[in-house]
Symmetry: C2
Subunit: 294 residues, 2 copies
């Protein structure tokens, strides 16, 4: 039992799609006999029956159907590659394409790509999208890498590789000039701007709030970190978010950290396809970020 012969598989694919040997042979400009024997060889080497010879018709077996699906996958990828190669493939160095969840902190993303900015000759393109679009784009090679704060659960046949890039402690942040304390309960009179109920941060916050018997007066919710940042800056309300989101405002004193929530973290993940080969320049990016570090 030898290795899978892609040449044979190609012919099988062509025939299975058409369902007809003679026609396919004409289309491919080879003789039927060649096609016939190649497919037979595939069946023999793989020890599987791909077609049922019903009368003078070729009918896909169940195994044949399964195989066809894989072949479809394989050769349409191949066709994409061919097209890419034949249209010349832009000669200048193609940019590194990084996708990021649209709701993530821009500051965090910026800190991630900082090493790329330092390198003079590297080009990259950054795209914001939702989690589903992120995974689609990865699968379709529109992205080299995705950044997200939502993990992808590992399937049986791992399609995605998802690793923890960094975790940020989550803090209560608000305008300066008010008494700061590390006791949540003291913020009963304050107004709050929070991430939405489904989010992990909110869930953690709500649990803590319940524990401290705090009933927060929620004036606004937003899942977008950029939006949260604006609200934190301009609403006068307290917010709950990773510090990195309002890094600049904390530095300038426009906002201050009230307290860091214990045991609550925002996780940042880097997602690639399982068959993971990183763009050479990306390897150094990852090394800059020690796992679970900042």
């Amino acid at each position: 039992m030898s290795r899978l012969n892609y040449h044979h598989l190609y012919y099988f694919w062509q025939v299975a799609k058409g369902g007809n040997l003679t026609e396919t042979a004409q289309r491919l400009h080879i003789s039927q006999s060649a096609l016939s024997s190649q497919i037979k060889q595939l069946e023999q080497s793989m020890q599987v029956q791909l077609f049922n010879r019903q009368g003078r018709k070729l009918v896909l077996t169940d195994s044949g159907y399964q195989t066809l699906k894989y072949a479809e996958d394989i050769f349409s990828r191949g066709a994409e590659l061919e097209q890419l190669l034949q249209q010349g493939m832009q000669p200048q160095r193609s940019p590194i394409r990084i996708g990021a969840l649209a709701t993530m902190s821009r500051n965090f993303i910026e800190s991630f790509i900082a090493p790329l900015l330092a390198t003079a000759d590297s080009r990259y393109s950054l795209l914001s999208m939702n989690q589903t679009a992120l995974l689609n784009a990865l699968a379709g090679h529109q992205l080299d890498l995705a950044l997200s704060n939502i993990a992808v659960q590992g399937n049986d046949s791992q399609l995605w590789q998802c690793r923890l890039l960094a975790r940020q402690p989550v803090a209560v942040i608000g305008p300066p000039g008010t008494a700061q304390t590390d006791n949540l309960a003291e913020y009963q009179q304050r107004r709050w701007v929070l991430p939405p109920v489904q989010s992990p941060i909110r869930t953690a916050f709500d649990a803590l709030a319940a524990q401290y018997q705090l009933q927060p007066d929620v004036v606004a919710e937003a899942d977008d970190m950029a939006m949260l940042r604006l609200l934190a800056r301009d609403s006068g309300a307290l917010t709950v978010m990773p510090e990195v989101v309002v890094k600049d405002e904390l530095q300038s004193g426009r906002l201050v950290k009230y307290l860091t929530l214990p045991q609550v973290y925002e996780n940042f993940y880097i997602i690639t396809t399982q068959r993971d080969l990183l763009h050479p320049q990306l390897t150094q990016l990852l090394q800059a970020f020690s796992p679970a570090g900042g």
Copy 2:
């Protein structure tokens, strides 16, 4: 410029992964010279430089990197197929695997697979999951087909095929014995159970409610149709949902339709991978459902 040679591509893949010709040649049990010439042939036939010969090292070019990614994709799929074929591939007819969005109406799903139930010898397995998992499973061949009420937007390079299978008018449904009218405003005093704010149905309902100056008293929200159905049945509140969800209850008179919302539809989509080959038995299922019909 001939067609892409998968044999050449395979060797390129192996070498590019290892970065080393000699080692790879030994691993594959062929001579370096063979490897060298095959790769050179690939470069010539595709008219692209895959490696830069720097000193006595082979360094991937940018085009080479792109190509490698496709090759990785192609041959890991191939490896999966090989494994599947070599482990014998379960001889009994493999079941048709249908994935459905966990929040969809079970009645609708049942009506979709009804033709399969009628066929004695067909086996199928039904799996509930979220939209992301659905797409993952499709991409990884764990599913033949997915049912969802969320469309997948078409990317540039179409990965998914998403077609409208059916659309159901959405109705206000509630317990019998109260005056029915087709004027939304008359339901001001009622309690409501509604889909969550992000959902298309809710958005449409809210717009209508605003138009009729109805401020609904929302006692519960749920995105799961099975859950909504239970709430509709047991809460005494009014609900907004496609009729099919509570088909049985409407028939038995336990619930009644108050009014059908104009221009509001719940859409049901069937999602497959773009390189779309349907399981023979699925073709008939689709024909049973005329597009935009019931």
